[in-house]
Symmetry: C2
Subunit: 277 residues, 2 copies
């Protein structure tokens, strides 16, 4: 079986794909949209994409594509703890330049400033790209802030472990596909994600939409507005609901329809957690 | 009077600052956080920062800083139509490379592909940076996708006008300060923006928070969740309310407090619109 992910090798997406599909062939793509298009074109059986980070928020590229351009379904969610490592070709050498993704630099800056005050920072497109760049220049005094799996992938040494500033850092990934995959990861619960589009002519439309869930006691675990890209102040709403009360949710959907509120289901899925090391 | 904005010169922020404060001295800063810090440090009397774009959504750097790290107030909002121009040193020359911000490239790609199929794209940190780069290399076959004001600022020619793919593209800017500024721009209305933090132990807390506004007939023009940066699934909520019913809003705030919902007011402000050319 083939599984697409956001490359290059050694990225957090790669790690999630490895944990979820340890027996299968993993195929890297250059950006999130290409990972999803690969699934639509039938090039892969599943696609693994990031959806939300606990510090940065939603991954708009993923959610906007699913809303505007696609009918793909999320069939599982995998939560990956984000721990950043300082990686270099050799231990004990001075570090002149530190490469990483802007968010990982933000998380690791405090540590680097304290221990390598003369190091300069340079942005890369991803943490795995930074690790690859460091490995390709073994003669330079370079280091990367990147996941542990990137050290294994590019033969780098861990200079310092878990250097991120915030302890609580997690990313949600979705597995997109047709069939529920059998994952050998600890399961946490069951959720459903949908996008609501509200009619212009319904006063208090968002409040009414939320009411259909609230009075039935259905928990919303997330709500977020995203621009419809039509005019300033026009949004669609992404909501996550607890899937424990599936029958009640079906009634809520009927009520939404009768109010003139349209909804698009992004998926009903089990939530899995990759254990912290 | 001194006014800080997101530089360099020729950016949309610069244009907004010029329209709002035509008589004053404008000071560019390198990023949004620095624009806000300049105001806090007393280096400028007002700061102009982007808040939301109708296609891309909220500017998280602005809203997260105002929520987590600052007590600055928005005292006016200015809506700027976003129109992108193709700029070069000379008209009628071939174009080999087109520079711009990723979002402006996304908006202009269709036009460039059709008219300059051999041109390559290269990302810059901002549209104004792209224009400056083109002006600095007059011997190269370079072009920039940038606002009209960047053409004036860097002495570039407009090769093609309004090349953006989507017609409806606006950005909201906030003027941060202590006093309401007198702007000679057309006024559109009056709004208030606040951030709600919900207590853990209140079931249906978001629904209850929205109820305090809904049953009083107070219109919410926007709602958005942003991560609290503590754990996955914990959010604060940014809401915009119509400021027409100010007394009613004060009662709603009292009710929020009695429910254990905390709120932080980002500002009560008039909304101004820069006319389309």
């Amino acid at each position: 079986m083939l599984v697409g992910y956001l490359g290059p090798k050694g990225s957090f997406s790669h790690h999630v794909a490895q944990k979820a599909f340890p027996q299968d062939d993993l195929v890297p793509y250059q950006n999130i949209t290409e990972v999803m298009k690969a699934y639509e074109a039938g090039q892969v059986d599943y696609s693994v994409v990031p959806v939300e980070n606990s510090i940065e928020g939603s991954v708009h590229e993923t959610l906007d594509y699913l809303f505007h351009q696609s009918e793909i379904q999320a069939v599982a969610e995998v939560i990956q703890p984000i721990k950043q490592q300082l990686l270099a070709v050799e231990l004990g050498r001075p570090i002149e330049k530190v490469f990483s993704h802007p968010q990982a630099i933000a998380q690791g800056k405090k540590y680097i400033r304290r221990h390598f005050p003369h190091a300069q920072f340079e942005m890369t497109a991803s943490t795995a790209n930074a690790a690859r760049l460091v490995a390709e220049h073994p003669d330079r005094q370079y280091a990367a802030i990147a996941p542990h799996s990137a050290a294994d992938e590019y033969g780098l040494q861990v200079v310092a472990r878990d250097i991120q500033e915030m302890e609580e850092n997690y990313t949600r990934f979705w597995i997109l596909g047709h069939h529920l995959p059998q994952l050998s990861l600890p399961q946490q619960g069951e959720k459903q994600t949908l996008a609501l589009t509200l009619p212009d002519n319904l006063p208090g439309a968002l409040y009414k939409a939320l009411s259909t869930f609230a009075w039935r006691g259905i928990d919303l675990t997330k709500i977020e507005s995203r621009p419809l890209k039509t005019a300033l102040g026009e949004y669609f709403f992404i909501i996550d609901i607890d899937n424990g009360q599936k029958n009640l949710a079906d009634f809520a959907f009927q009520e939404l329809t009768s109010l003139g509120i349209t909804y698009k289901i992004f998926g009903s899925y089990n939530v899995f957690q990759i254990p912290e090391k």
